[in-house]
Symmetry: C2
Subunit: 151 residues, 2 copies
């Protein structure tokens, strides 16, 4: 949605102002690209995607942009037990969880409000204020099971 992207970009601009940061075309490009893509990226993924459209942006810049995006609440880090960190728009991460196939690496997103409600209930029980959560189910996806399987 454009609305959502605009909100994210506003948040980024606000964050820049708060921290006394200056503008930069390169960083803006990365930030914009990330927000518009609206999907998860590893740093490498994002770097390559950005490079394809606009060469001359370094890894450092991508890392630094991603850090800012995380700080201002636009992106969220997620580590699926891999060695690399993935980043995804927080609007999404706030509302979905993941099924992760250990065979092919596919990541399926799902959301389930009932589970989220139960999570809140658990937190309340411990007088815990939840600011973020992560739910991941690891296993084997449908396709990877195909070679005939009983049960």
């Amino acid at each position: 949605m454009n609305r959502k992207n605009d909100r994210a970009i506003d948040a980024f601009i606000r964050h820049k102002a708060e921290r006394g940061l200056k503008s930069s075309g390169k960083r803006a490009f990365v930030v914009d690209f990330f927000i518009r893509a609206n999907r998860h990226f590893t740093v490498e993924d994002l770097y390559n995607a950005v490079k394809a459209r606009r060469p001359g942006i370094s890894y450092s810049t991508v890392y630094r942009a991603l850090r800012l995006l995380t700080e201002c609440g636009i992106a969220a880090e997620s580590m699926f037990g891999e060695s690399v960190t993935r980043y995804e728009p927080i609007e999404r991460s706030g509302h979905h969880d993941h099924l992760i196939c250990r065979k092919c690496g596919r990541i399926i997103e799902f959301e389930n409000l009932e589970i989220e409600k139960l999570q809140q209930r658990v937190a309340r029980k411990y007088r815990f204020t939840v600011t973020a959560h992560r739910l991941e189910l690891y296993g084997v996806c449908r396709e990877c099971q195909r070679p005939a399987r009983r049960r």
Copy 2:
């Protein structure tokens, strides 16, 4: 209690046999210590705890022991968005999830069968076979909220 530890140790011995591994007092000590402690450790934690009781066991040995424990299903890796990996007995990890305080780092365990059931339902919907899962709620724990409440 003892039953469970025995089962874990049996599993380890079985795994050793399957893979043609030999015995080693040092490794056995680490494995035993981990199983008996029945809690989560970072590699460093475990290394230090082991060293206190029995010096002369290297980091490498701890790492390698932990890898074996993971391979044979006794331990599970879990990364709480920190830079280090934690390991915990899988008997536990299979049945509980975590509340993680972002202020003090405290980790509270909880279990909730309803959530687990819902997870299974989600998996079924996607024809996904779940072999492991992870649910973490991040936020601020009860104690860390107490002194707060500023002006």
